[in-house]
Symmetry: C2
Subunit: 95 residues, 2 copies
Amino acid sequence: MFKDLDPILHSQLRLAVISLLVSVKEAEFTYLKEQTDATSGNLSVQLQKLKEAGYIEIEKKFKDNYPQTICKITPGGINAFEEYVKNIKSYLTKH
Amino acid sequence: MFKDLDPILHSQLRLAVISLLVSVKEAEFTYLKEQTDATSGNLSVQLQKLKEAGYIEIEKKFKDNYPQTICKITPGGINAFEEYVKNIKSYLTKH
DNA sequence: ATATTTGGTTTATATTATAAACTACTTTAC
DNA sequence: GTAAAGTAGTTTATAATATAAACCAAATAT
């Protein structure tokens, strides 16, 4: 009846991040922070978790002398997102 | 861009319970436990939280000598569910 | 030069979710 | 009639999460 929801994605911030990365494919830390309205600390922690889960890759560079963190979604991340979307729909309609 | 998700409903078990109660209007503890595949302890705790939030009402009776817990959704619960459904959709499509 | 800003990370704390243990009673089997 | 197993939960303890606060290193502005 109810499909299990991937706990990695069942988190407001992590879901928002993946939702963004699914379309843009690549985004800066600051862009994600802006779009999700998260605090830096929270975003930093949640990005690490998405990375540990293999859902995103994180690349650290420098841009105009400042550190720059770039995030990209992986095929596993895309897949997990699509699964999640499919599964949560079982909760959203009346039974 | 992303709407905030009611933390009371952004929980797999509580969302499942509300999803059920939205259609059936009234259900026993044991029925909810069966349908959601939850442990008794977890269900008990989450029902209390839904009650504290004013999303459900809980009535305790006896049926055939056994204790019976009946749950009903409130107008506030219905409203919160509909809001939640609307809001989570902002996460589920590509941006 | 020192104060502030940028772009983060780490650590500590509060909140949640889950599981395990327990309560209270009933039914069934001996 | 009493011991064992089952019903219907609640409470408590533990693990997992989210959030905030503090911190770091370097750059820029005053």
